[in-house]
């Protein structure tokens, strides 16, 4: 039965990969990658039981905690075009001239 669950998860992962490859927009890809991440968390948890070693759960736990960092970086990337402290466009170009 763990096997059935694992196979269902693998099939779902294929579907997420299809969406990841097809896109069409960048956000579709982020969504698919994110969804793939959740499925990996579940697959690792199920695999721990399948192989009789549930101490693998630490890895699933790690993904559950950290997988949203990438998404937040994407949001910041698109909102501000920078992962640091973006400077407003005009100010940035002015600054560029001043430094030359």
């Amino acid at each position: 039965m763990f096997a059935a669950t694992a196979i269902a998860l693998l099939v779902a992962m294929v579907l997420a990969l299809v969406r990841l490859y097809a896109g069409p927009s960048l956000y579709d890809r982020v969504l698919a990658a994110n969804s793939f991440g959740t499925k990996t968390v579940l697959l690792i948890a199920v695999m721990g039981f399948l192989t009789g070693r549930p101490d693998f759960l630490d890895i699933a736990l790690l993904y559950a905690l950290l997988n949203f960092i990438g998404t937040i970086a994407v949001l910041k990337f698109f909102r501000y075009r920078s992962l640091g402290d973006a400077v407003e466009e005009k100010a940035a170009s002015r600054n560029k001239e001043a430094s030359q």
Binding site: M1, F2, A4, T5, A8, L9, V11, A12, M13, L15, A16, V18, R19, S25, Y27, D28, V30, L31, A32, N34, S35, T38, K39, V41, L42, A45, V46, F49, P54, D55, L57, D58, A60, L61, A64, L65, N67, F68, T71, I72, V74, L75, F77, F78, R79
Partner: protein, 118 residues
């Protein structure tokens, strides 16, 4: 007897969860545009994940494994809607228009309070 019941409940949860994850993934492929795809992705994240984790909890019995499975569920409960919201927001801010819905204009009279509210 009780062991059998727990076993049966566990398999039911696992299979239901697996089914929901599949449905969510199918929706991710079938839906026509980005915003509508967010919803089936939510099936996987919410009930699909919870059911599978519940099924595993029933298998594990009462131990630290249970606690860790519960923690995975709890952290997903916080992070998955946050990432979904973050992606949706990024798409909206970057100007991706929903294909089948209209973005309603913000009610204008309150737009200026925005800065003061912070």
């Amino acid at each position: 007897m009780i062991a059998l019941l727990v076993e049966a409940a566990s398999w039911t949860f696992l299979l239901l969860g697996a089914f929901l994850v599949l449905v969510g993934a199918l929706g991710l492929v079938r839906m026509p545009d980005f915003y509508t795809r967010l919803h089936p992705a939510g099936i996987t994240d919410s009930l699909g994940a919870d059911f599978i984790l519940t099924g595993l909890v029933l298998q594990a019995g009462f131990s630290l494994v249970t606690v860790k499975l519960f923690l995975i569920g709890a952290f997903l409960f916080f992070t998955s809607p946050t990432s979904t919201h973050a992606i949706a927001n990024a798409a909206l801010v970057a100007g991706l228009k929903p294909r089948h819905a209209v973005v309603p204009p913000r009610p204008p009279e309150k737009a200026t309070q925005d800065e003061e509210a912070r």
